[in-house]
Structure formats: C-alpha cells, structure tokens
Symmetry: C2
Subunit: 235 residues, 2 copies
C-alpha cells in the first residue's frame, strides 16, 4: 500500500500548500487523480473538486471528481491515484457504502501501489476512513452511515486535528477525555492523535510520521508522545 | 410529558447545584429517583450513581441506579422519576437499545406526568436522547449504537454545551459549521443550541427556556438567538 494520510488540508500558506511536496512524492509520476468529494456537505462537490484541482495544478496533477463519473465503481477500478477530501466523516462513509465502493477501493490499495497500482491521498475524514472504523472521528453524526466500519487499511485508529485544549467555561469533554472513553471500551485498539499540519506516509509495511508537532498514541490507559520519524504502534 | 432537560451537570457552585430548584419543582414531591448511568464510560456506574445521590440529597430525593436493578424494564415501568445522566451519547443509546428500554420509557413519558405518571430529568446526553435522533450530539462515536434514532419525545434536536468558539490554530469545524452541515442535509429539522447552564422545562405542550445565556435555533440557513422564556420552534 502507498498512502499519504494528512491531518488537515489548510495551512497558513494556502490550501494543501504544506503537503504539495509530499503529494508529488506519493504520486510518483501519476498525473491523473480521481477526487472523492463526498465528505463535503456545505460546499458544492464541483466547487470542492475545483479547489483541489487548483491546489494540485502547480505539481502537474489533474483532478476529476468521482461524483461526475457515470460508473463510480469502474472509475475506482481504473484510477491510479485517488484523493479523498475531508468534511464530514459520516457523510463520506455513507456515500462510499451506498455506492459499494469501500471493498473495491480497499482491495485495490491492498494489492499494492507499484507501477500499475493505485495510490491514495486523504486528509481529515479521508484519513480517518483508512482506520478499521470511524469511531475516533471528531465529526457530528449528521447522517447514519449504516455502520461505523470503514476501509480498515490501517491497524489503528486515526484522530485528526488532534489537540487537547481545555476551553474556559466549556463543561463538555476534552479531546483526551473523548479518546480515553474510546480506549476504555476498546483497550486493544491504538489511536494516533495526529496534530494539525502532520501526516503519515505509508509505504508497504513502513510508516513514517511527518510534521512539526508531536503526535500522541493512545492505548488502554497509556498515552505516548512521538516526534517525526519512523512510526510504530505501541504494544 | 413532564421533562427537565439540562445542557450540563456541573457548575461553579458544585455538581447539579445550579439545577437543584428546577429538579425539585419537576419532581413535584417524588422522593425516589431511578438513575440511568449508562452514558458514563470512564467512571464506574456505582460511583456515578453515588455522585448524583449526594447531589440530590439536599432536596430530599433518594437515588438508585438502574444498572443494579434485576429487571430494568420493570424498574422503568414502575418508576415515578427517571434521571438520565450525561457522558457519551452513543454509549447511552446503545445500552438503552440493547436492553429494549427506549420504547417503554418513551411510552410512559408520553402518557403524562400526572400524580401516577413518570417524570424525566436529563442532562447533556440525557437531554440529547429526547430528540428524534442523536445526530446533533457532540460526542465521539466510540461504540455503534445500532442506529441513531432515539426517544423522539421532542420534535426538534438538542445540541448541548452549545457555544461557537473559534480556536486559534484549529483547522477543524466550529460548532456552528457542524450544525450547518446537519441543517443542510435535514433542512426541515430544527436544532436548539443550548448553552452551558441553561435548560428547557417541558410541561405538556408548554416549553420554557431557563438560564442566563441566549440559546440559538438552527433551521435551514437561519439561526435565531432567543432569551429565557416561552420557547417556540421557528417556522
């Protein structure tokens, strides 16, 4: 598998600018990307696709939207580069499930990203769905996705936009409290809290964490902060 | 129906202290409360029940935990006051659904809260589940609740701990953006953003908003801020 999994899309320098070099490396010469805009809710899918198209033009990658394909399964079957944007994870999963795209996408990615193989870029919701389930999304369950299981490419859960902020006057749960609730009920499953601006590059069985901010593993009652570099699941 | 639906349980003065008078009024002489601790995840259900018991002792209400009842359905069937605490809304809904308590609870509450009738106090997750679904919860979907539909006592959705904070450096969605995603996909359904410290008292067909902070209705593309007083759904 060849995956690039970003925490988020925006940066101070502009949309996807912080990740352009990483996307170019992942693409490895591929120039035609299939964009999945299904996580977008308050934005038009054509507009969302155009935004990504504009962002990737400087690195010579053209972008077409999956929602405009007459046969979505065929489009997934023949693509060489799939890009899955963020938004609402429940909406994304619902659309992929309803169109029966989860299994074909996972199957092609697991088959490997060699010269003829499919490669994958995701951010936010697009990263979360590579986990076994979406049970560590931050998003509101605005639609019923028909089950929380997702692509299951990675053996751990992503939590994107990770930070643990205590907001004065707010009496709800902090992010760490929410993730602790997850690990109490699923003590065997690791969660990677991926801060804004960071990403994980998956190449075969090798995982590498990139970015300025320490990420945080959650496993059972433990948390482990890790810096950029080779990434291994805690045991 | 006689319901008291709080945004949250904690206050600067102590646990549930801000709501004691409202709970006393709602109870209307009832002295034996059945507490539903199922939303608690990182806390022991006995401890959670004890915390609520201690909090309500000053107003002469004794509290027993539903999780200690041999026959939960029978306990719901004979209770005169049910209190549903906050925590994780998905966990709460999953437990209620698995134990087949949703329909009996809703049925008794709809039958009315007269002298022989059941009355209800909820906060946070315990308020959210009185909505048609839990699709406007802030909680993480740490377990699969087997569907998002809930008690459906109220004709609108609650969003508790409501605030719309823009956190510097955070590139995820604000609360208003999340709720806008909901209303885009469900334009016919109103959402009430209930700030910390506020509550809604439901008495038959009369609803009253209490608390210091303006609440916010979300309906389609509109938002409407409302002060304490008689509450009506926007049209």
């Amino acid at each position: 598998m060849e995956l690039l999994l970003l925490s988020n899309s925006t940066s101070d320098d502009g949309y996807l600018v912080h990740a352009l070099e990483a996307i170019r490396e992942l693409a490895d010469g591929r120039q035609d990307a299939l964009f999945v805009p299904f996580a977008g809710v308050t934005r038009d899918w054509d507009d969302y696709t155009a935004q990504v198209r504009d962002a990737l033009a400087p690195i010579g990658i053209s972008v077409r939207g999956l929602h405009r394909e007459a046969d979505a399964r065929a489009a997934i079957g023949s693509a060489s580069l799939v890009i899955v944007g963020g938004g609402n994870t429940f909406r994304l999963l619902k659309c992929l499930r309803e169109q029966q795209l989860l299994a074909p996408l996972a199957e092609r990615l697991r088959a490997g990203g060699g010269p003829e193989g499919l490669r994958y870029v995701g951010w936010s919701a697009g990263s979360v769905i590579t986990s076994p389930t979406i049970r560590t999304t931050n998003d509101m369950p605005i639609v019923d996705p028909g089950g929380l299981d997702s692509l299951g490419l990675m053996p751990f859960q992503f939590n994107c936009h990770y930070f643990n902020l205590v907001v004065p006057g707010f009496r709800g749960e902090t992010r760490d409290q929410r993730l602790a609730e997850f690990t109490v009920l699923s003590p065997e499953m690791s969660v990677l809290g991926l801060p804004e601006g960071d990403w994980v590059r998956v190449s075969g069985t090798r995982w590498t964490l990139h970015g300025e901010h320490a990420a945080r593993w959650f496993l059972g009652e433990r948390t482990i902060d890790i810096a950029a570099g080779a990434l291994e699941m805690p045991r």
